[in-house]
């Protein structure tokens, strides 16, 4: 237990502490010009201590201090009812639900595409270029189009946002899965051939199990960009709900503390999602006898 603390927690905390120090430094530096202006206008005597204290207490700072952001997160999560429109948990859930739906659809789509590509030569030649092209279009350009077009056919709410996540997340899954399905040693393919096995037996007993490590690596990338997709998808919906909406409304009203707290929440959410995929990967790998 102490070993785990020393090996895992300590390095992480060291980096967090370093970031906090740098962050506080920039808070003072970036908020100082406005504060100095204020001192001049009101002809206040000031010392360095005053400056440091005051730059960390702005209502709409250029850069809020870490403790201001933490206080805001505390206020909007623990102190607010989950059902409240101002609760970060409520907004996180909105974003999380479309992230997860998009991720599941993206993983499924990516896997299906990979299977088609590996099992069919024509698909390999015709599909892969389009899959790569799809990712060269900036998501910020295509997201509003998806929302608008789907809205015109009567689809709104969760599904259009999830589709943007799907659009982003199917790609790493498809690419990783193709590589995984093609990863078995030629010797093992020869072995299966000597048993006169069918195509589907080859697929299920050899190709699919071989692709599992590749799939999980891809899923780690896919779940993180699913979250990005969900947030981007919330921006053109007119800022109703979700972390994206919090970011947008924060920027309308210059609420930098609100923006930063939404940002940190999104980052935390992404980290938790990646950890969840990681745990699923470890459980699966253990069942497949991978040495620790």
């Amino acid at each position: 237990m102490t070993d785990m603390l020393r090996q895992k927690l300590l390095p992480v905390l060291t980096i967090v502490a370093a970031i906090a120090v740098i962050w506080y430094g920039f808070t003072v530096y970036l908020n100082a010009p406005w504060q100095l202006d204020q001192y001049e206008k009101t002809a206040t005597e000031w010392s360095m201590t005053d400056l440091v204290r005051d730059t960390m207490a702005h209502d709409r700072p250029v850069l809020p201090a870490p403790h201001q952001v933490v206080a805001e997160i505390w206020k909007t999560t623990v102190k607010k009812k989950v059902t409240s429109k101002r609760s970060l948990i409520y907004h996180s859930w909105i974003t999380l639900s479309s992230t997860l739906l998009g991720f599941v659809m993206g993983t499924f789509t990516g896997m299906m595409l990979a299977i088609f590509i590996v099992e069919n030569r024509a698909m390999d030649k015709s599909l892969m270029p389009w899959i790569i092209t799809s990712q060269t279009i900036p998501i910020l350009a295509i997201a509003p189009m998806i929302i608008v077009v789907l809205n015109a056919v009567g689809l709104s709410g969760l599904l259009p946002k999830a589709l943007i996540s799907t659009y982003l997340s199917f790609f790493p899954i498809a690419v990783g899965m193709v590589k995984g399905l093609r990863s078995p040693d030629p010797m093992l393919i020869d072995l299966m051939r000597t048993y006169n096995c069918s195509r589907w037996q080859l697929f299920f007993t050899l190709r699919l199990p071989s692709s599992v490590p590749y799939l999980f690596t891809s899923m780690k990338i896919a779940i993180a960009i699913s979250l990005v997709g969900a947030i981007v998808g919330e921006l053109p919906t007119g800022a109703v709900a979700g972390l994206g909406a919090r970011l947008l409304s924060g920027s309308y009203y210059g609420q930098t503390i609100q923006i930063w707290s939404a940002l940190l929440t999104a980052a935390t959410l992404a980290a938790l999602l990646v950890i969840a995929v990681n745990i699923a990967a470890q459980i699966t790998h253990r069942m497949m006898g991978v040495p620790k």
Binding site: M187, M192, T194, Y195
Partner: protein, 256 residues
Amino acid sequence: MVIKADKLNLDFETNDGVVHALRDLDLEIGAGEFVSFIGPSGCGKTTFLRVIADLETPTGGSIAVNGKPPEQARLARAYGYVFQAPALLSWRTIARNISLPLEIMGLSRGEQQERVERMINLVGLDGFGGKFPWQLSGGMQQRASIARALAFDADLLLMDEPFGALDEIVRDHLNEKLLQLWKKTGKTICFVTHSIPEAVYLSTKIVVMSPRPGRITDVITSDLPDDRPLDIRETPKFLEIAQRVREGLREGHADD
């Protein structure tokens, strides 16, 4: 006749031109024989094994396995193949690796289990059925791979340098075991090796091959007794046969 090759040819097209992997191979292997193929790399010994297994297609001549073309023999699951590496599926336990061909052939669960137990016992891996491959030594992994090749009871066993990667002590031990196994089961075994003592110790017939083009330079029928303790390798008879193999190999190199 289990295997009959007649003027068998196999050419590979490569970027540097045509490679004659097999040139005019004539060979007959009878039921219950233990035949070793020996020669330097590039002499086509592995290629010939792969032709028998229908993993390569010859470009000329004819070959019959159990009187049929190799493809039909493969479709009829006429042989078990042991590769240079154990080629075990890392996510399956030893028992489930051995049952892999049985699953593919659609045997019942009970039958699978019964056969796996018998095979594990045959190769001396009792108690290791539930282990994953990485938990076993290289020699034990190769034994598991032999058990897998024997599991579906084909009469022909094709072995491509199965003990090449193992150390000498383990190799001696497995050679002894393999000989016992062959006597017990009466299977026909084709065994690729580049070790002269291994070839002489195991075989009833030794096929000496040479490269560029891959061809047979000598076929030696061994008259060593069936009962072969390891120290038979010190006897004059053994050394005499080994000497003939060595000469055959040297002859193949005369044009170098």
